[in-house]
């Protein structure tokens, strides 16, 4: 089980459509990015491509995927998994969208 601490990070419209932004804080030393798709859905990922830790927040977003700017790995925004034939994943964090504002869930306690 994982418990989350929810942090407010700003308005949804602060992120462009099919865009992403990195947060001021990270999770256990890893940067976090929030993504906004063309269909106005929000996702949060550890902002490191599973391949060479490239900044996914700088990639091109199409549908619910983002392409890493370094070597074109395609990562699924909902799961953080690399699309086949590449293998690997980056951690996905939960996002809540309420009254136009985005909240990201940071794991505070994880037990198996």
């Amino acid at each position: 089980m994982t418990e989350f601490a929810w942090k407010k990070i700003g308005l949804g419209t602060d992120i462009p459509l099919r865009g992403a932004r990195r947060l001021c804080f990270g999770h256990e030393g890893h940067p976090i990015a929030i993504f906004r798709t063309g269909a106005n859905t929000y996702f949060a990922l550890i902002d490191e491509c599973p391949h060479r830790a490239g900044p996914l927040s700088e990639g091109i977003i199409a549908g619910e995927t983002v392409t890493c700017p370094l070597h074109n790995w395609v990562i699924e925004l909902d799961s953080g998994k690399a699309a086949a034939p590449d293998e690997g994943h980056t951690r996905a964090l939960p996002v809540r969208f309420e009254d136009g504002e985005i909240y990201v869930g940071l794991p505070v306690r994880e037990t198996v």
Binding site: G10, D14, G19, C24, G38, P55, G59, I60, I61, A62
Partner: protein
């Protein structure tokens, strides 16, 4: 794995090359893993690779990774122990033990020798000088590539298959290449004299100098090779000498073990050597007096040997008629069997067209085809080979045979050589012995849809690649896709190609990415990272002033107007018009570097200054400070005009003929800010000494007393390409018009991400000349369209962002902590 002792027999393979590993692959197919545990010893430090394709690596068509046949994972997955970089030095047949150079000792139950061959070396002085190498393995190719990078002149000794491919590869790497051949014509074992002469003529036109009837006496040089001295007195200077006069079977280890050896290791039809526990395959063997250098019979040997190892008591190797081809782009030749009539009873029929560079000859004996030599048009090669192998009676076709299958079979039941009429047992891939039937069967049963899948499943066209076209045609035929010449799709979201999309954007007035994707029924509604930037560019180019750039479809560098570095920081390169700067600009750059603690300040190859290691959030402030001193974006990140490199020209230089610096600045002022399919670099040299290196730029101007030479399509990157001369003009105004027109035709007609060099290589310089030089009105119209589009493009992106545009791109969230 549990720890029960392995009770399987031990098969040791000496040699990690193509023949040995093919045998292992065939053995695994037959379930050999249940019977054998397999250990492979290879002398080279690499995994198993396709040696036939070394010439493609040399020519730059492929990388070493591309030609790997089996990766280390493959060995692991199949439970094979691989020992690379450790050659077997001795075999003890009595004790059934091998010992390696590193002192490794291993016992075998069955041994397979696949030691291949060694390059032949002529008995001449100078062979051991640095700068002399063979053309046999990856280490040789590395030496040749190193020489191509640092030195200029290469001499290849040997005008056979290997030597010609080596010469062509080095030529592709921009060396000046001479080829020495002992005989009067090239490839005399595979080609008769007329075909050999046509080949020499074609390669001579491509810039290889030939020294036929040349006997090498010595490779001269003190510390390294300096030249090749021929017996008749001719001397050819050289920085690199490649020996490619032939190969001889590598029999050392077999010979010292006491196995029967003549020219090669003697094997019987079952591929056993004189010791029944020891097999041999490949270029190291001799079978019924014959040794082998081509891949097809070696694959047959591998099959037979694997079957025998698996317990099949009937498999026999039989030598078949062989064909030869050459892997030089644009040179098509085919040869099989007899080259000429042996005596008067043989029939020799020749068809020759020197203008088209086409030559065909067939040799008949007793009503059967026994030889064929084709040059220029080799489409019927496999058909001739099949007639030879099946010893078909061709008397009835005699008069039409040389014209090829279509004409020879016209009037008979067959309708011609279209794909449907090829019989199922016709061999399509000569290297791997794959028939039409087995390809079609694999396509249907395994539902294969691409060439690479067919290669993976059947190996057809996976060795030398010459039958690729036929395999593609079969794929098209079997899957019902129209077998027109396939235009590559822009990406996997659609089947439409670049040109079709661009034409449709104009013809149907498509003005948004959604409209284009809708018109072509894109598979993904938002496209992908490949098509989005391309469509965004095509629309921007088609509708200047109307279409609004979509920054979300730009790669990060173009969106942020800076170059992302591997640590996530950015580099900033201000424009220095024509490479000229001022003390005030230098002060500004110095202050910015200090103020923002920018770690590296470097002079670039394009005559500007690069500030490296700028934090993303500092970018707008850095640009603001630079802007105050008049510095603007240098677009070092853009698919657009990068730099215009100049020399000082007539203003200062005693050789300068024109004001090259001034002209460079004018060109840069005209062209900056424009988006193009890929980056564009210009240079202007003030005299033919060409200090600005104009001959490797997308557009180069070389000033001469009489005016300006305009050169286009050069590239100094991985594939160095020297510019093609476009024209010579008398005035600066004409240069400007040509430059505008050239930018626009490249913008309108090249594919996205295609530099000018490959674009011109694709359409031909004659086409560009026709549009820009022969058509005055067309050139002026192109230039006018360019200048119109520039009205909307020439806004400094740095100044806009320093004033606050796109602030969200540079700040993190939440914005106020």
């Amino acid at each position: 794995m549990n720890m029960i002792a392995d009770s399987r027999e031990h098969l040791i393979v000496i040699g990690n090359g193509m023949a040995g590993m093919r045998t292992v692959e065939e053995l695994l197919k037959l379930g050999g893993a249940a019977r054998y545990r397999i250990t492979v010893f290879g002398a080279e430090p690499h995994v198993n690779y396709n040696r036939i394709m070394l010439s493609s690596v040399l020519a730059g068509d492929k990388t070493v990774d591309d030609i790997v046949i089996n990766s280390r994972e493959w060995y692991m997955e199949n439970g094979i122990t691989l020992m690379t970089g450790d050659a077997v030095k001795s075999i003890d047949c009595e004790a059934r033990i091998v010992t390696t150079a590193n002192g490794h000792v291993a016992q075998y139950d069955r041994l397979l020798i696949a030691t291949g061959s060694r390059p032949l070396a002529p008995p001449i002085p100078g062979l051991n000088l640095p700068g002399v190498c063979a053309f046999r393995d990856i280490a040789d190719v590395d030496k040749m590539l190193e020489a191509a990078r640092t030195r200029k002149r290469a001499v290849v000794i040997g005008g056979g298959l290997l030597g010609l491919e080596a010469a062509w590869g080095l030529k592709q790497r921009c060396m000046s290449v001479a080829l020495v051949h002992l005989m009067p014509t090239l490839m005399e074992r595979q080609l008769d004299a007329p075909a050999g002469q046509l080949l020499q003529r074609d390669l001579d036109r491509r810039g290889i100098a030939f020294f036929t009837e040349g006997q090498t006496e010595e490779i001269t040089g003190v510390d390294r090779a300096e030249g090749v001295q021929l017996a008749d007195g001719r001397f050819i200077p050289a920085d690199l000498v490649v020996l490619a006069i032939g190969i001889r079977p590598n029999v050392d280890v077999a010979k010292s073990a006491g196995l029967e050896v003549n020219r090669g290791i003697v094997v019987a039809d079952d591929m056993r050597t004189s010791d029944p526990y020891i097999f041999a395959v490949g270029e190291c063997v001799e079978h019924r007096g014959q040794v082998f250098g081509l891949v097809a019979p070696i694959w047959d040997q591998a099959k037979v040997c694997a079957a025998r190892l698996a317990g099949d008591a009937d498999a026999l190797f039989e030598s078949r008629a062989l064909s030869t081809s050459l892997k030089i782009t644009g040179v098509d030749l085919f040869s099989a069997g007899a080259l000429t009539a042996a005596d008067e009873s043989d029939d020799e029929i020749t068809l020759r067209d020197d203008n088209r560079g086409m030559y065909k000859k067939v040799v008949l004996r007793d009503g059967k085809l026994v030889g064929a030599v084709l040059y220029g048009d080799v489409g019927d090669g496999q058909w001739y080979l099949q007639l030879m192998r099946e010893k078909t009676d061709v008397s009835a076709l005699r008069d039409r045979l040389v014209f090829g299958r279509a004409i020879a079979e016209a009037g008979s039941a067959a309708t011609g050589p279209d794909i449907a009429s090829i019989p199922d047992d016709t061999q399509i891939c000569g290297c791997n012995g794959v028939s039409k039937g087995s390809i079609v069967c694999a396509i249907k049963e395994k539902n294969l849809g691409t060439l690479s899948e067919i290669r993976a499943h059947t190996k057809a066209s996976a060795s030398c690649g010459q039958c690729t076209g036929l395999v593609e045609a079969l794929l098209a035929h079997a899957t019902g896709v129209v077998s027109e010449k396939k235009v590559p799709a822009i990406c996997e979201c659609t089947t439409a190609g670049h040109d079709e999309i661009r034409q449709t954007i104009i013809a149907r007035h498509l003005k948004s990415m959604e409209a284009v994707r809708h018109a072509f029924e894109w598979k993904k509604p938002e496209g992908c990272h490949k098509c989005r930037p391309a469509l965004n560019y095509y629309l921007l180019c088609a509708w200047p002033g109307e279409y609004v750039d979509d920054s979300r479809s730009r790669f990060v560098n173009e969106r942020l107007h800076a170059n992302i570095q591997k640590d996530g920081t950015y580099s900033v390169v201000p424009r220095m018009w024509g490479g000229v700067t001022t003390p005030a600009e230098l002060h500004a750059i110095a202050s910015v570097a200090e103020k923002f603690s920018i770690p590296t300040v470097k002079v670039t190859g394009g005559q500007r200054i690069d500030l490296l290691g700028v934090k993303k959030e500092d970018l707008p402030a850095v640009w603001s400070d630079l802007g105050k001193a008049g510095l603007v974006s240098g677009h070092a990140y853009a698919k657009g005009l990068r730099t215009v490199k100049t020399c000082v020209g007539s203003e200062w230089c005693r050789f300068g003929t024109q004001d090259s610096t001034g002209l460079g600045i004018k060109l840069e002022k005209m062209c900056w800010g424009s988006w193009t399919p890929h980056k564009v670099k210009f240079a202007v040299s003030g005299c033919p000494r060409n200090c600005a290196e104009a001959t490797i730029k997308d557009m180069g101007i070389v000033c001469v007393e009489a005016g300006y030479d305009i050169l286009v399509g050069g590239n100094g990157g991985i594939d160095v390409r020297v510019t093609d001369p476009l024209t010579r003009v008398a005035t600066e105004e004409e240069v400007m018009e040509y430059a505008g027109a050239f930018m626009q035709i490249y913008r309108e007609e090249a594919h996205y991400l295609e530099r000018t060099a490959p674009w011109i290589a694709r359409v031909g310089i004659d086409y560009v000349k026709k549009r820009l030089v022969d058509d005055d009105e067309g050139r002026r119209a192109l230039c006018a369209r360019f200048l119109y589009s520039q009205r909307f493009a020439q806004a400094d992106p740095w100044a806009e962002r320093a004033r606050g545009a796109d602030a969200h791109e540079f700040a993190r969230m939440p914005e106020v902590v």
